[in-house]
Amino acid sequence: MKDRTRPNLKIIGNNSASGGQYSDVRIIGDGVVEGDVECINFKSVGDSKINGSVKADHLKTVGSISVEGSVESDSIAITGDLRSTGDIRMGDLRVKGGITTKGSIKGDDVRLTGRVEVKNNCEGELFRLNGQLTIGGLLSADDIDIKAYRRSRINEIGGDRIIVRKGPGIGRVIKSALAAAGFRSEMLEVNSIEGDEIRLEYTKAKVVRGKDIVIDGGCNIEIVEYKDSLRVHHGATVKQKMKI
């Protein structure tokens, strides 16, 4: 994709253009691209909509971008909102704002802050998630560090090192009032978590399996299976512990 002889595409204002192969694509304002786009640099400021897939060496958006198809890029940086109907494949992914995909996310280094909604799997080497998370499939990476906000839900988590921290909570008075009213304190709900080194806070899970496990305050776990060590904080509930 290093062919510099290709034309550039520039959309300014409320306008549309057709897809194709370009060097640089730049959208400022309300741009619509009809069809698949392939380019070296994709930059958009404002609201852009691509009625097709996007393939770019670098993709950068300030504002919102909505893709009717898949997204593939070495690096993706979004300040704002990224939506796609297809899979997102990349090297590095940085999102501050929101990301929603009806497909999966696959990459190396993924750092997401804000609202994350992924229908299928999320795979990478490193995942840093900070926000309200909904992942319908498996979240799998060597190194997973999550700061979960209330009502986060992930089907399965698997990897080497897994840390779940509590996102910003609510005030103590409101919290005790809510607790009295039967509200749960957990931030993140997961079916199963499997890893070598696991540390959880404010997490509700059916099964946690691993080598060295620390269950910190606010957790509610049905079954913990551990190989080497297990520490359960007094503010956590573990129904069943098994050393295997």
Partner: protein
């Protein structure tokens, strides 16, 4: 059936690998998605694997990872075609494809000086089936045509190629992985080849021959 499966827990215990490794290998497609079999047990959902396949695979990964990176391994073990290009003569020299198969290949698809991975794969499958005596040369031609026309729709996925005969008439089927099927009474399944494992075999052969 139960004996053929191994739970994830037992697998880790038996092979001494960690969760981290297992998930990493899965991500790198070193272990195919369809080997992860989910079942409900009294402790909730558990994952099982086909015992023989997974144990052999993990042994292989452990042996190979001494001198190859995970990405190189994934090139060898995943069903995705590699970017290898091989000279025609080299294929014969390295005994990957026999002379007879080459001639047949030339009759049907012409003979390129340099084989890309897909062409090498077709020739290799043809060679294997001919050598096994399961198909005739005429059927070999049908096989090549089928692969040439339709394999691209299956590339990167696990797939199988089947040969069946009924009353002396043969036909060839290309199906995607783990599909269940049955024929009518008079039809006999002559040959059934899993393309993913053939690709793995071929990639290993190529890299041993110093080509891959």
């Amino acid at each position: 059936m139960e004996n053929d499966l191994i739970s994830k827990k037992d697998l880790l215990e038996e092979t001494g690998i960690s969760y981290g490794q297992l998930y990493r290998w899965k991500r790198k497609s070193l272990i195919p998605e369809e080997w992860f079999i989910r079942k409900s047990t009294f402790t909730g959902q558990e994952t099982f694997f086909p015992r023989d396949k997974i144990l052999a695979r993990i042994e292989k990964i452990k042996n190979l990872k001494e001198d190859a990176s995970l990405d190189e391994l994934s090139d060898i073990l995943s069903p995705a075609p590699s970017g290898v290009e091989v000279e025609k003569n080299k294929l014969v020299q390295e005994k990957i494809v026999s002379e007879v198969t080459m001639d047949l290949f030339a009759q049907v698809l012409g003979i390129p000086e340099v084989f890309d991975f897909r062409q090498t794969l077709y020739a290799y499958i043809l060679d294997k089936l001919l050598a096994s005596g399961e198909i005739s040369t005429d059927e070999g031609k049908v096989l090549l045509k089928t692969l040439d026309e339709h394999y691209s729709e299956f590339a990167g996925k696990s797939s199988e190629i089947l040969f069946a005969r009924k009353l002396g008439v043969s036909f060839c089927l290309l199906v995607s992985g783990s599909t269940q099927f049955s024929f009518d009474v008079g039809t006999k399944l002559v040959s059934r080849v899993n393309i993913s494992s053939i690709i793995e075999e071929l990639k290993t052969k190529l890299s041993n021959g110093g080509i891959g």
